[in-house]
């Protein structure tokens, strides 16, 4: 449905040209929910804005539903108003001089995709029902809460029944509880109108829970394009591992294909091919994969709790194991206190090995 090829965007800045997007390729299938995830300045929003037609790329091409909408080389360019898209902005961008109904109706009456006057009202009400704002049609949008404004923006984006829905960090201005709620609703709405979605966020929890696939970006490049499960369990490099979820890292040196030498002694793990014995690598393991138990156990290593952070559903413990400090996540009602001696187990299958770059 969306097909991005060799997309490149360069911005002029005070310190010379900056390459915001560095020639990326991306295919989004019909009905798919694709999330672009990355830190600020990684090029995700720029990519989205190129798809919307709000930015013109310096290189590459974009197709929407088989139609070439932008090609830096071929000179083809379809302006945003002629693309079959809807878009939700980070600032909501609801028009403050119009009421809820007028906001949703404007694309139908003044836009390029307008519909017969007689159908406008019904279509707008349908969109408002979808976002559960029916009954608030006559309210000035400026009287609404942030969450409600975002719903107006969403209704406005889907009211023309676009093939593609673009969302630029739509939840980042909402408070935490509302964000969780809206996240579920977004997913429901996108599914119910069967729209192809491209969603930009810097929040990994949003990305993992919303996306059919997640595209992790940094410095204008795609680092990983995979399902949320793969992104979390098989990060291909240190950046993705750091950015998605939490992980303990420690420097190590390859011994052979199944073992590395680190501050915790010799550790059994799968060393990726291409890492010769003696090569420096970084080991990673997620806090929840580390086993922890009170007292000492012959199977595990011995550690000492340095401090703990209570999170309600879990307990984060900083544990000193030999010369290494590990973060361990203990779920349930575990109670470990400062100075306790604990047994730590590090399952072989949960280790990640990242070659030094």
């Amino acid at each position: 449905m969306i097909s991005i090829r060799k997309l490149e965007k360069i911005f002029d800045s005070a310190r010379g040209p900056v390459r915001a997007v560095g020639g990326i390729d991306l295919e989004v299938a019909q009905g798919e929910f694709m999330v672009l995830l990355g830190p600020s300045g990684c090029g995700k929003t720029t990519t989205l804005r190129c798809v919307a037609g709000l930015e013109r790329p310096e290189g590459g091409s974009i197709e929407i539903d088989g139609e070439l909408v932008d090609s830096a080389a071929g000179g083809a360019y379809v302006p945003p108003e002629r693309r079959d898209i809807g878009m939700v902005f980070q600032s909501y961008a609801v028009w403050p001089h119009l009421n809820v109904f007028q906001n949703v109706v404007l694309p139908l009456t003044e836009g390029q995709r307008r519909i017969p006057r007689s159908e406008v009202r019904e279509r707008a009400l349908e969109a408002l029902r979808l976002v559960r704002l029916d009954g608030l049609e006559e309210r000035p949008v400026t009287d609404l809460s942030g969450g409600q404004q975002q719903r107006v923006a969403l209704a406005r984006a889907v009211v023309t029944r676009p093939k593609v829905l673009l969302m630029d960090e739509p939840l980042s201005n909402l408070d935490a509880r509302l964000r969780d709620q809206m996240r579920d609703e977004l997913r429901r709405i996108a599914e119910s109108v069967n729209v192809t979605s491209l969603y930009v966020t810097h929040d990994q929890a949003e990305a993992l829970s919303l996306g059919d696939r997640v595209c992790v970006m940094n410095e204008g490049e795609i680092l990983q394009l995979a399902t949320p499960k793969e992104v979390y369990s098989e990060p291909p490099n240190l950046f993705v591992a750091r950015f998605v979820g939490e992980m303990n890292f420690l420097p190590a040196r390859v011994v052979d294909a199944g073992r590395v030498e680190s501050g915790l002694g010799t550790i059994k793990c799968a060393v990726p091919p291409g890492c010769a014995p003696g090569a420096a690598v970084t080991l990673g393991i997620r806090p929840e994969h580390i086993g922890i138990a009170m007292g000492e156990s012959p199977a595990g290593m011995r550690g000492q709790v340095l401090r703990q952070t209570y999170l309600g559903d879990a307990l984060h413990c900083q544990v000193q194991v030999g010369e290494v400090e590990l973060t361990v996540k203990a779920v349930g009602d575990a109670e470990y206190g400062r100075g306790d001696t604990v047994a730590i187990s590090l399952p072989e299958k949960n280790w990640h090995v990242f070659p030094e770059t």
Binding site: D12, P80, E81, M87, F89, Q90, G111, R114
Partner: protein
């Protein structure tokens, strides 16, 4: 350099934005061009030469003019600040009651033409006809009036009264932005009140005050109306009035080359001051960044001093507006210029109204009206194009646009008037008959009103999130429709207030009108001036009185539609 682009195309707004820049450049360049020529300009009889500069610099009179101008500008700055600064502090930092009234007084101060006040002060303190002098002569049995307003210091005093509102507005923003927490931090760090003032408050306020000083100084060196009304008749010349006598001599052919040379000197001074002004402003802005937001300035409780503060403000209003204008109104009905007295009171009549050439007044009113309708629209269209390109595009060319729109803020309007005159006389005369038309005046007004309109729109556009427009595009609205349905409705309050403010300033403008007016394009203010210059003080007073009467409903309009944003942006 990349041109401002949207979606890869050069924006259609660009030519509109560049048009006034072109005017500014042409007006300035033509002065330079003319300054290097003698003979009959624009014909084969003109030759390129440095003679004009030699004549100007070799003329001892010019040094007296420079000295007068400096004296005048310095006293203008002094009086404007000594009045404007305390009032600004009172409104922003104390609990003085009736703050809206203070804003009313100061805004009126900006709008009431300086030429009227100057006329009033001529009646008050002119060495021969000034009432105070006449009374003092009678009272003390003197030979001459002891007070002379027709000196650089005296005229500087009158212009200081006129520009005090400007000083007020330039410094209120500083007082508003200055975070009192910075002062409190100094106090908690153990500094005395005096040390806090010396080491924290004054250094922080410094750039803003200095910027105000420079700006008022620039306005001062180019002021035409006050020195023309008070000084010309007494042969006290400043830069501006000297230029006027060079351009419109009474007894010989004008030597425009000399005008050009003096103009170029003035341009150089103005540009140097502009550069300095820009640097000071930058420094001031840096301090503002530190202050941050989300604080409530603590107001000083004046207590029993409230009445004293209001007495001072009231005294200023009486001195600068009420008395001079009341006197002009009085003279409009008096048979000749004489101090108000019981005896005079009985002689008041409508006789002066019969002596006024009503056909001329009618013509002036017609032209003023045309200008008030046309100039604000032109200024808004150009300012919108410039602001949109400056705020909404990322091209580096936008800095050039921003600078170009700012330039007329500090380059005196007098120079643009002379530039326009020379362009119409020597460049366009065979192609476009602009000389003697109201459109020539309109072009200069457009240029001089542009900085304010652009800055007001910049501020408004910055307030309107870019995504509101983009949301319209992705909703399928074309750029034209997006502007009509989204951007313009959101900009309307700003557009209204800029429109009215610009119209009011066009109404009161006198310098450009006097330099460019002929029989066929004279404006109301130029009518007042032409009567005054021909020693028709009573007739000038009649027209002035009428102008003030017309003014009142306009002011009311301004009050209803947009004083807020105009005051905030100025």
């Amino acid at each position: 350099m990349r041109l401002p682009r949207l979606n890869g195309q050069v924006s259609p707004l660009l030519p509109i934005a560049l048009a006034p820049m072109g005017l500014v450049t042409v007006f300035i360049l033509v002065i330079v061009w003319v300054s290097f020529q003698t003979g009959t300009l624009g014909t084969a009889h003109s030759t390129y030469t440095l003679e004009n500069y030699r004549d100007v610099l070799g003329d001892s009179e010019i040094y007296g003019v420079v000295w007068n101008t400096l004296w005048f500008a310095c006293s203008t700055v002094f009086f404007a600040l000594i009045i404007g600064l305390p009032i600004a502090w009172l409104t922003e930092r104390t609990t003085i009651p009736g703050k809206p009234a203070i804003y009313v007084i100061m805004t009126l101060g900006l709008l009431i033409p300086g030429i009227f006040v100057a006329m009033g002060w001529t009646f008050i303190a002119h060495p021969r006809i000034g009432f105070i002098n006449r009374w003092l002569v009678d009272l003390l049995a003197l030979d001459d009036g002891p007070i002379n307003i027709a000196t650089p210091l005296g005229m500087g005093f009158v212009q200081g009264l006129n520009l005090a509102p400007l000083a007020f507005i330039l410094t209120t923003q500083m007082f508003r932005a200055m975070n009192p927490m910075l002062e409190e931090a100094a106090r908690t760090a153990g500094m005395s009140a005096a040390a806090t003032l010396r080491r924290v408050t004054l250094p922080l306020a410094g750039p803003a005050i200095l910027a105000a000083v420079i700006y008022i100084f620039i306005v001062g060196i180019a002021t035409f109306d006050v020195p023309a009304v008070i000084g010309l008749g007494n042969r006290v010349y400043l830069f501006s009035t000297y230029l006027f006598t060079l351009t419109f001599p009474e007894d010989m052919e004008p030597r425009y080359g000399i005008t050009g040379a003096v103009g170029v000197l003035m341009i150089l001074v103005a540009l140097a001051l502009t550069a300095w002004y820009g640097r000071v402003l930058q420094k001031g802005n840096r301090y503002q960044v530190i202050t941050g937001k989300g604080y409530r300035p603590k107001m000083l409780d004046l207590g029993g001093w409230n009445w004293a503060a209001w007495a001072m403000i009231g005294f200023y209003a009486v001195l600068s507006k009420l008395v001079p204008i009341a006197l002009v109104g009085f003279i409009a009905f008096a048979p000749y210029v004489a101090p108000p007295s019981l005896e005079m009171w009985e002689q008041l009549s409508l006789n002066n109204f019969y002596n006024v050439n009503w056909e001329l007044v009618w013509r002036g009113m017609k032209h003023t009206l045309i200008l008030m309708l046309v100039v604000p629209v032109l200024a808004l269209v150009c300012a919108f194009a410039i602001s949109w390109l400056v705020v909404r595009t990322r091209s580096r060319g936008r800095y050039a646009l921003e600078f170009g729109a700012f330039l007329p803020h500090t380059v005196p309007e007098l120079l643009f008037a002379i530039g326009a005159l020379l362009v119409a006389l020597f460049v366009l005369k065979d192609y476009v008959p602009l000389y003697g038309t109201v459109w020539l005046i309109a072009l200069v007004y457009l240029v001089t009103r542009l900085p304010f309109a652009t800055r007001a729109l910049n501020g408004a556009l910055l307030q309107i999130h870019k995504e509101l427009e983009e949301a319209a595009y992705v909703s399928g609205l074309t750029m034209l429709r997006a502007n009509r349905r989204v951007l313009l409705p959101l900009l309307r309050p700003t557009l209204m207030s800029v429109w009215i403010w610009t119209a009011l300033l066009v109404y009161r403008e006198v310098t450009v009108a006097v330099f460019l007016a002929t029989e066929s394009n004279i404006t109301l203010t130029a009518v007042v001036w032409s009567y005054w210059a021909a020693a028709g003080m009573t007739e000038a007073s009649v027209v002035t009185t009428l102008m003030i009467l017309f003014f009142s409903p306009l002011l009311l309009l301004f009050w209803i539609f947009g004083r807020r944003s105009a005051l905030a942006e100025q």
